[in-house]
Subunit: 398 residues, 2 copies
C-alpha cells in the first residue's frame, strides 16, 4: 500500500550502526524502514542474533527469523574493530555519517575510540547515540543489562506478579524492544535540533530508567500523592480484565460507557439491566465491577466469537476476536495492510513491513535483512578504498 516510488522521510540520512541483539537493531530498524541508509557494522563472528534468533534456513546461515525481522533494509559490513585498519574504516564512515548508534558499554566504546567525544571531534554534525543499560553516573553505571534483568528491576515483572500472584516476565524482550523505539525517537529529535542549529550532539538512552518510567507512569497510582497510597491502575490490575471465553474461542469486548453498556445488554437480550441499580451508570458498574464481569462472562459463552463480534458491532459495542498467532496471520485487516507479506518467488517466506504511512515522503522499497558482510565491498568502495585495500580488509575480517 505504501508508495515505493518515494524514498521515505529519512532519505539522505546515513546511520553508522554498531549495535547488536535487539535494543539497538530495533532502533535502527525504524530508521532504515523510513529511508535512512543504515550501515550495520558486524564483528567477524556476526551479530549474536544471527545465531540466537532461531533456526536459519539451511541455505542461508546466520539468517535466523528474529535476525531477519529486526534487520531488514540495512546494509552489512564486517569489520574487526580491534584491528587498526578496522578502526580506520570506521572513522572514515563516521566522517560521512549523520548518526552513530551503539549499545556497547562505555568501556568498550572507549577502547575502540568510538566515544561521543572522539566521533564528534571528527564530525561535529553527528548525532551520537549510546543505548546504555543504566544512566551514567549512577551506582549501576556500566553493569551489564539484559532484557529479563531490566524487566525484573524496573517493575515489569512486579506488575505481572500483581495480577498473577507470582513474579513473571512479559513474554517479549519487552524493555529491549520498547527502548529501541525510544532511541529511534530520541535520535530523530536530535536530527530536528540539528536542522536548526547545524550541530550534532551526544545522546544517552538508558534502558532501566526508560523502563521504570514506562511502568511508573502507568502504575504509580495513588502513591503519587500519598506515601501510603496504593500502586497500580485498578482497571488493569483486576484479574477479571482478560479475554472472555465464547462458545468456540475468546473475545475482547469493551463496554464501559453508558451507550456501550446499553448496547451490550440489548445484544444479550436483557435490555432491562440498564435500569438495574447495579449497572445503570459508569459509577454503579464500577462499584459492582465483579458482578458486571461475571454477567458478561456468563452471557458470552452462549454464542461463537464470530456471532458475538457481528452482533455487538451492530449495537455499537467495541468487540474483536481474540487471535492466536495462527489466526492473526489470517486476519483480513492485517493481510490487507501490507504489514505482513509473503515474499514473491518464495514457497513460504513471511516478512514484516513498516506499519506507518507517510503520504508525502512515502517509504522506500522493503529489502530483506542482509547476509553477514554482504555490502562490505560496496561500502568500502564508497568511502574510497581501492580493490587491493578492499581485498586485504576483507581477508582480515573474514
Amino acid at each position: 500500500m505504501s508508495d515505493t516510488s518515494k524514498r521515505g522521510p529519512l532519505a539522505g540520512i546515513r546511520v553508522l550502526d554498531c549495535t547488536g541483539v535487539i535494543v539497538g537493531p530495533m532502533s535502527t530498524l525504524l530508521l532504515a524502514e523510513q529511508g535512512a541508509d543504515v550501515i550495520k557494522v558486524e564483528p567477524p563472528e556476526g551479530d549474536l542474533m544471527r545465531k540466537l534468533g532461531g533456526k536459519a534456513p539451511a541455505d542461508a546461515p546466520g539468517m535466523s527469523p528474529k535476525f531477519m525481522h529486526f534487520n531488514r533494509n540495512k546494509r552489512s559490513i564486517v569489520l574487526d574493530l580491534k584491528s587498526e585498519e578496522g578502526r580506520e574504516v570506521i572513522q572514515r564512515l563516521a566522517e560521512t555519517s549523520d548518526v552513530f548508534v551503539s549499545n556497547m558499554r562505555p568501556r568498550a566504546l572507549k577502547a575502540l575510540g568510538l566515544t561521543a567525544e572522539a566521533l564528534l571531534a571528527l564530525n561535529p554534525r553527528m548525532v551520537h547515540c549510546t543505548i546504555a543499560g543504566f544512566a551514567t553516573g549512577g551506582p549501576y553505571d556500566g553493569a551489564p543489562a539484559y532484557d529479563t534483568i531490566i524487566q525484573g528491576l524496573s517493575g515489569v515483572a512486579a506488575c505481572l506478579e500483581t495480577v498473577l500472584g507470582e513474579p513473571r516476565f512479559a513474554p517479549f524482550v519487552l524493555t529491549d524492544h520498547i527502548v529501541g523505539i525510544i532511541a529511534a525517537q530520541a535520535i530523530c529529535a536530535a536530527l530536528v535540533a540539528r536542522a536548526s542549529t547545524g550541530e550534532g550532539q551526544a545522546i544517552e538512552v538508558p534502558m532501566f530508567e526508560n523502563a521504570a518510567a514506562f511502568v511508573l507512569s502507568e502504575h504509580l497510582g495513588q502513591r503519587t500523592f500519598d506515601p501510603q497510597g496504593s500502586f497500580g491502575d485498578p482497571r488493569i490490575m483486576t484479574p477479571d480484565a482478560r479475554p472472555m471465553p465464547t462458545k468456540d474461542g475468546y473475545i475482547c469486548v469493551s463496554a464501559n460507557t453508558d451507550p456501550q453498556a446499553r448496547g451490550f445488554f440489548t445484544a444479550i437480550g436483557r435490555p432491562e439491566l440498564m435500569e438495574d441499580p447495579r449497572f445503570r451508570n459508569v459509577s454503579a458498574r464500577l462499584a459492582n465491577v465483579a458482578e458486571y464481569f461475571a454477567l458478561r462472562a456468563e452471557s458470552l459463552r452462549a454464542k461463537t466469537t464470530a456471532e458475538w463480534v457481528e452482533l455487538l458491532r451492530r449495537h455499537d459495542v467495541p468487540a474483536m476476536p481474540y487471535h492466536r498467532l495462527e489466526t492473526l496471520l489470517e486476519d483480513p485487516q492485517l493481510r490487507g495492510s501490507g504489514v505482513l507479506t509473503q515474499e514473491e518467488g518464495e514457497e513460504h517466506m513471511l516478512g514484516l513491513r513498516h506499519a506507518n504511512r507517510f503520504a508525502g515522503s512515502g517509504l522506500p522499497e522493503s529489502r530483506r535483512a542482509p547476509r553477514q558482510g554482504a555490502q562490505t565491498a560496496e561500502i568500502l568502495a564508497e568511502i574510497g578504498y581501492g580493490a587491493e585495500d578492499r581485498a586485504r580488509l576483507m581477508g582480515d575480517a573474514a
Copy 2:
C-alpha cells in the same frame, strides 16, 4: 541531572494536540519533554483520563495520577470544537503549528474540519499525524480501538496464553503506550523530512498493525520459513524464564555465555559443573535447559538477594534484584537518575522526568501537567484574540 538552562532538541516546534486518554498523550508527552510547545486542546468536559486515571487530590480536581504522568510540560486550552468559534480558534492555531496530532476517528476529524487535507491547505508545512485504531482502507477501518481489544487481536494476549496456559492481557495499556512512542518517532521523522524539503505531510500510525508487527517480529519464529513451523522464541516462551526465589525475595540472573556460566558455578561453590557434559558449553546447556534452570533455582534459595547480587557481580555474572514497585522507588540508581522526583514544597508528590539525555540541547525545565484550561487565556492572546473575545470564548467553552 539534565541541563535545564537549555531548551531541548524540539525547542521551537509547536504541537497542536487534539488527543486524549493514553496513546495520543503519550506521543505528545515525549515531544513536550524534549522542548516542543504542546498545546493540549481539551473539550469542555476535559480529557477523559482526568477522571479515569485514578483519584485526584481534593484540592486539584481533574488531576488524576495517570493524567499527571502523561501530560506534564503541556499547556491546556479548552475549546468547544463543535462551535463555530471553537473551530475558528483551532484553525488559527493550526496556521502557526508545526505538528497536529489526534487519535479521533476519521469521521470525527472530518466533521470538525481537521482532516489532513483541510489543515495542510491552511499550513503546508504542517506534519499532520492521525493515530488510528486500524489502517485506513482495511475491513476494520473506523472501528473503535481500545488497548485491551488491540492486545487481544494483535497477539499480545496470545503470547501470554503460551506461557500461562490461558489468555491474559499484559498488565499495562501496552499497545496504547507503545504506539504513542511510535507516533512520536514518526512525527519527528516527518520533521526531519520537512527540514530538507520544506514540506509537511500527512502521516498515519495505526495501533493494530503496529502492535501486530511488534508481536510478530519477536514471535513469528520458524513459521517465517515454514508453513508448519512453530511460532515463538523458545528462550522467552519457556515457563522457566522467570525471576527466581532467594532466601528473602527474588533475583534476576543471566548466565548464558560460557564465562557467565563459569562465574555462576564458581559463585555457588560448584566450579566442577563447568566440566559436566550437560553444562560445559552454550549448546550443552541449551540441550539440558530444564536441568540447568532447576540447578539455578535450587542453588539460589541458599542466600538472600543482596548476598547473591554482590557475590554474582564479583564473578561477572549479570544479576539484579527483583523489585516490587515499593522497592523500585527506593532503588539508588533510579533515585540518582532524576527520573523519579519528589517535588519541592510538597509533602509527597512523586513526579517522573524524561529519561534520555541530550548533551547539546539539554532538556527544558519539567513542568507539572496543566489544570484543565489553565492556559486558555494565554494561548488565545498569543494568536491575537483581544480581552473581550477571550472572555466570550472562555464563557462559551466553560
